[in-house]
């Protein structure tokens, strides 16, 4: 890992909000917050999809459950983030544990379909709670951190801090003993089992870690929009996260971050230009899959030598 570009990027991100507000570009602080939240969600998916080879088509479930937990607790009068955050993370982790425990007994296309099926069940379950907004979603005030007021700017810095910490943790993880075994399972599952690793346990632990991190992104999303939308739970959202990972680079460390940032920016730009923006997004994805199978991160890495 080369630290120069990372520190530069971190410096720019730290300096951005004051510069943006001085030049009347506050909008972009918000946009960057959203990019970072999705970078976190896509990064968590990249852990299981990219490093673990588990093609989960239901990752939105944990993202959405994180957001809904935050919103529902706020609605029920819980205002402290020190309660909301742990509960939301624990719930998304528990959900990932239960879903993973079942799904990881299957492989291939069955795994893809069953993760999708579970996520859809969660979607319909949440939408059926009329007292929590049903299909309209749920408005939620931002919580109280005690130490600071959660304004747009502090939320930006909070998200940046969370993302940086999580990425550092993931960097340690993928290079640790655990990370090595996780990748070995992706490379060759039967051999990994034959040399004495309990494959299922490793996969399940990774699945839960990814679920917790997606839940964390969901909490931040609820704070960001002050709203929990059923869209966060929908299968399209799972697909969106997968597109980010594929675009950025499956199993490439910066894949999630690059994919999320690029896809959201492209969508933002194309949406302003044309009604057919989804076609444009599709074409870009197609080009990447055909000509850069390791995604944008793979391209950058090749350029850097």
């Amino acid at each position: 890992m080369r630290y120069g570009p990372i520190l530069l990027l971190l410096g720019l991100l730290l300096a951005f909000p004051p510069i943006a507000s001085a030049t009347g570009l506050e909008f972009y602080t918000g946009l960057l917050t959203k990019l970072m939240i999705f970078a976190l969600a896509a990064g968590s998916l990249n852990l299981i999809l990219g490093y673990g080879g588990m093609v989960s088509f239901g990752h939105a479930a944990y993202f959405g459950v994180g957001a809904y937990t935050a919103a529902i607790l706020a609605r029920e009068g819980v205002s402290s983030a020190w309660v909301i955050w742990p509960v939301a993370l624990a719930l998304s982790g528990l959900l990932a544990f239960l879903i993973g425990a079942v799904c990881l007994r299957t492989r291939g296309v069955y795994f893809i379909m069953i993760t999708l099926a579970f996520a859809q069940m969660i979607y319909f379950l949440v939408v059926s709670f009329k007292q929590y907004g049903g299909e309209d979603g749920l408005r939620a005030r931002r919580p109280d951190f005690g130490l600071f007021e959660l304004s747009d700017t502090t939320l930006y810095y909070l998200t940046l801090a969370v993302l940086a910490a999580v990425l550092y943790g993931l960097y340690r993880l993928v290079n640790s003993r655990f990370g090595r075994v996780l990748q070995a399972i992706r490379e060759n599952e039967s051999r990994t089992a034959a040399i004495g690793y309990p494959v299922y346990r490793f996969q399940l632990v990774a699945f839960v870690i990814a679920g917790v991190l997606a839940g964390l992104a969901g909490v931040l999303m609820a704070h960001y929009t002050e709203y929990a939308s059923p869209n966060l739970l929908a299968w399209q959202q799972s697909g969106h996260l997968m597109m980010m990972v594929i675009l950025g680079g499956v199993g490439q460390f910066w894949g999630g971050v690059l994919g999320a940032a690029t896809l959201l920016l492209v969508e933002e730009i194309l949406q302003d230009l044309t009604l057919y923006w989804q076609l444009g997004v599709g074409l870009i994805l197609l080009l990447v899959v055909l000509f850069a199978p390791r995604g944008l991160a793979g391209l950058l890495r090749r350029r850097a030598g």
Partner: protein, 252 residues
């Protein structure tokens, strides 16, 4: 003393009895060869012993433990390691990376999430020793996919060996090898047999008769004969079922 005892083992695939009421025992310290025609159930038997597949019926005991229902990783921990008939390596990993993974599996917990595994010198050093014993040291940093067939087969054995087993299950280690490579493999197995018990599945009869202390013959999932090489060579039933008229000859 028996290290491995298999009793009435049966494995059914739909209507097919791949292993059919099979009995077999492997004594400590021996090279025990398991021969039999294509489709006799040799690989299926190895899969049951190693825990990759569950038996339909029967029992397996290993080193005093009942292991019939034990998951594969616990069997490896007890000292059972296998190789694959069809080379099954981490193809994009180098020789050392392959071996380090196997060494790591038996040296402490792998549920460690923080320290860089590349800094663990002990894993690297053990992997280097195994590579040296296999004669693969010049290829230490070559991805497995780029090794010659013979070298891949050696690494295949090396990965099982890196588990420090008491019993090594070798599924046709000479598969697809020319005479020179086979010779090296025979020499390697001979050397290994000084420190580990071996169950050797092999079609190469020269190799089998050079290495084995005992031979069992598997036909249609059943052991039809078991004994020292001379007895097997002289057994008319074995000839009829398997060896043909040329006891030293190659099986097709």
């Amino acid at each position: 003393m028996s290290l491995l005892v298999i009793e009435h083992l049966t494995k059914q695939f739909g209507g097919l009895l791949a292993v059919n009421d099979c009995n077999l025992s492997v004594e400590v310290g021996e090279i025990h060869a398991l021969i039999g025609p294509n489709g006799a159930g040799k690989t299926t038997l190895i899969n049951q012993i190693s825990g990759a597949q569950r038996p339909t019926k029967g029992r397996i005991r290993f080193d005093g433990h009942e292991i019939t229902h034990l998951p594969q990783h616990q069997r490896v921990r007890l000292g059972l390691a296998r190789t694959f008939q069809i080379t099954n390596l981490f193809r994009s990993y180098t020789v050392l990376e392959n071996l380090e993974l196997a060494v790591q599996a038996r040296s402490g917990s792998s549920f460690r999430f923080w320290s860089p595994v590349k800094r663990e010198k002990a894993l690297r050093e053990e992997a280097e020793q195994i590579a040296e014993m296999l004669g693969l040291t010049p290829r230490n940093h070559t991805p497995a996919a780029q090794l010659s067939h013979g070298e891949q087969r050696q690494l295949e054995v090396g990965l099982a060996l890196a588990c420090k087993p008491k019993l090594l299950l070798l599924d046709e280690p000479m598969a697809g090898m020319g005479p020179e490579e086979s010779g090296q493999m025979v020499e390697l197995i001979d050397r290994l047999s000084q420190s580990v018990t071996i169950l050797l599945v092999e079609h190469d009869m020269d190799a089998v008769f050079r290495l084995a202390r005992r031979i069992s013959v598997l036909v249609y999932g059943q052991v039809i004969a078991s004994g020292p090489p001379e007895a097997i060579r002289a057994n008319p039933e074995v000839h009829k079922a398997y060896l043909g008229d040329d006891p030293g000859g190659q099986h097709p």
